[in-house]
C-alpha cells in the first residue's frame, strides 16, 4: 500500500540530529536529495494529488571510511585497495554535498599510550556548560530576528554579525586561494568561526577562530581532490 503522506527520516530529525553511518554505502541519489533540505531546512514532496512541505531543520552527521578496506590515508599504508576502487568509493560523496558539510574531520587511530593512560579527559558536563553558554549568547543576539542560532544566519545577517578585521580577512583570502573554496564555503566558514568565537565567549571573530574554522574544511584536499 502506498502511503500518501509519510514523513521521512529527515523530517523526523527536525530540530535534532540525523546520523548516517557508512555514508558511501547509501545510494548516490538518496544522498544527493539531501542537498535541498540541508539548504532550505524543509523538504517538499510532490505526489500526484498534492505537494506537501515538511519541516526538516536537522543537523547532519555522517561517518565513512576513506576506502573499502578502511586503511587508506593511515600512516603505515596498510591499504590494499586499487586506486580505482578508492576513487569510486569516495566519489559516492559528491562535491556539492561535501561542500554543504561544515566540519570535516579525520578520526585517526588512538595510540596505545593514550588509551592506557590515566589522564583525565573532559567530562560531558563541562562541555555541555560551554555549549549552553554559546547557545545562550546566540539566543540573546538573535532575540528579535526570529532565528535561534548561527546556523540559521542568512547572507545579509552573516555580513552583520560575522564581521572580520583586516588580519582575519587576509587569512581567509589566503585560505580561499590555497584551498580552492567555493562561495558557499565562505558563508559557512564564517558561521563556524562565529560559533567558535561564541564558545570562546568573544564578541568579535579573531584570527584563531577563523583559522580553526578553515581547518575543518581542508580534509577534501587529502581525499577528494587527490592530484
Amino acid at each position: 500500500m502506498e502511503e500518501f503522506q509519510n514523513h521521512g527520516e529527515i523530517s523526523l530529525a527536525h530540530f535534532g540530529v540525523l546520523f548516517l553511518d557508512e555514508l558511501p554505502e547509501f545510494k548516490k541519489n538518496t544522498l544527493e536529495v539531501l542537498r535541498g533540505p540541508l539548504e532550505d531546512r524543509n523538504v517538499t514532496i510532490s505526489r500526484v494529488n498534492s505537494t506537501l512541505t515538511y519541516p526538516a531543520n536537522f543537523m547532519l552527521i555522517a561517518s565513512m571510511n576513506p576506502c573499502p578496506c578502511g586503511f587508506y590515508g593511515t600512516d603505515d599504508n596498510k591499504c590494499n585497495c586499487s586506486e580505482n576502487a578508492i576513487s569510486r568509493y569516495i566519489g559516492q560523496i559528491s562535491g556539492p554535498l561535501l561542500d554543504r558539510i561544515d566540519l570535516h574531520i579525520e578520526v585517526k587511530p588512538v595510540e596505545y599510550k593514550k588509551i592506557s593512560s590515566d589522564e583525565k579527559e573532559e567530562s560531558s558536563k563541562t562541555i555541555r556548560e560551554r555549549v549552553n553558554k554559546a547557545r545562550e549568547i546566540q539566543l540573546k543576539r538573535y532575540e528579535n530576528l526570529n532565528i535561534y542560532s548561527n546556523s540559521e544566519l542568512t547572507p545579509a545577517l552573516i555580513e552583520k554579525f560575522c564581521k572580520l578585521d583586516v588580519s582575519c580577512k587576509q587569512v581567509l583570502k589566503k585560505a580561499f586561494e590555497a584551498l580552492d573554496l567555493s562561495g558557499r564555503a565562505y558563508g559557512r566558514i564564517l558561521k563556524v568561526a562565529r560559533t567558535i568565537a561564541d564558545l570562546d565567549g568573544k564578541e568579535n571573530i579573531e584570527q584563531s577562530h577563523i583559522l580553526e574554522a578553515i581547518q575543518y574544511r581542508s580534509l577534501d584536499r587529502k581525499y577528494w581532490k587527490r592530484g
Binding site: 519541516p55 561544515d102 578520526v107 579527559e121 562541555i127 548561527n150
Partner: protein, 218 residues
C-alpha cells in the same frame, strides 16, 4: 436522516477541518464511505459496525452513506472511526445533538477497536492546533492522546476510552473531565545518559567538532 459531525484531518503537518456527513435512509442495506478515503478509512466500516454493536446499540440495517467533506482531498488514517460512528448514531437518533452544549463546536477523533475501545492516534497535535485556530471549543479524543493534546490551551479536552463512554457522555448521563489539564510538559528536563565524553580517550579533534556542531554552527 442526515447528520453532520466535525472532525479533522492532516495535510502534511497541517490540520484541516473535515465535516463528516452521514445519511441513513431506507433501501437495500449498505455502508459506503465517499470523499477520497484511503484503504484505512474504508476499513473503518467494519470497525464502526462492530464497535457500535458491541456498545449495546443496534446497528441500522439500512442504506448508510458517509461523505468526508471537502471531498476532493485525500483522507487517510484511522481517526475517522469515532466521528463516523457518532455520525451514524446521531443519524439514527440514538444520540441527540442538543443535549451537549456547543455540540457543533466539538471535534471528534479516534480509532475504534472491535470491542469499542478507543485507541491512540497519530498527529493529534497539529490537528488540535488547527482546531484552536478555527475557534473550536472542544475535542473528544483518545485518552492516550490527552497528555499530548493538553499542551494546547483554550480547548476543552475530553479524553475517552471507549465508545460506550462517548455515547453516555453525549446523552448527558456522565461527565468527563480532563485529568491531565494541569500537567505541563517539562521540556527543560535534563536528560541523563550512561555515556560520558570523559570515557573517550584521545580524539580531541572529533570531540571539538561535535562541540562546535552542538553550539549550532551547522
Amino acid at each position: 436522516m442526515l447528520s453532520k459531525i466535525k472532525s479533522m484531518s492532516l495535510e502534511g503537518l497541517n490540520g484541516y477541518l473535515v465535516e463528516i456527513q452521514t445519511d441513513v435512509s431506507g433501501g437495500l442495506p449498505s455502508f459506503d464511505i465517499v470523499g477520497l478515503p484511503d484503504i484505512r478509512v474504508k476499513e473503518a466500516k467494519e470497525r464502526v459496525r462492530t464497535s457500535i454493536k458491541n456498545s449495546k446499540v443496534e446497528f441500522p440495517n439500512r442504506k448508510i452513506v458517509v461523505n468526508l467533506s471537502p471531498a476532493d482531498k485525500r483522507k487517510e488514517g484511522t481517526f475517522f472511526d469515532l466521528p463516523i460512528a457518532i455520525g451514524i448514531l446521531i443519524a439514527i437518533n440514538e444520540i441527540k445533538k442538543d443535549i451537549l452544549k456547543d455540540f457543533d463546536s466539538t471535534i471528534f477523533l479516534g480509532e475504534l477497536s472491535l470491542d469499542g475501545t478507543i485507541n491512540r492516534i497519530n498527529g493529534i497535535l497539529p490537528m488540535c492546533i488547527e482546531a484552536q485556530d478555527l475557534g473550536i471549543k472542544r475535542v473528544v479524543i483518545p485518552k492516550e492522546n490527552a497528555i499530548e493534546a493538553s499542551i494546547i490551551k483554550n480547548l476543552e479536552i475530553v479524553p475517552v476510552e471507549n465508545l460506550k463512554e462517548v455515547i453516555d457522555y453525549l446523552r448527558g448521563e456522565i461527565k468527563i473531565t480532563n485529568e491531565f489539564s494541569e500537567i505541563s510538559m517539562d521540556l527543560k528536563k535534563e536528560n541523563y545518559y550512561n555515556l560520558d565524553f570523559s570515557e573517550v580517550k584521545g580524539q580531541e579533534t572529533a570531540k571539538r567538532a561535535l562541540e562546535i556542531a552542538a553550539a549550532r554552527s551547522t
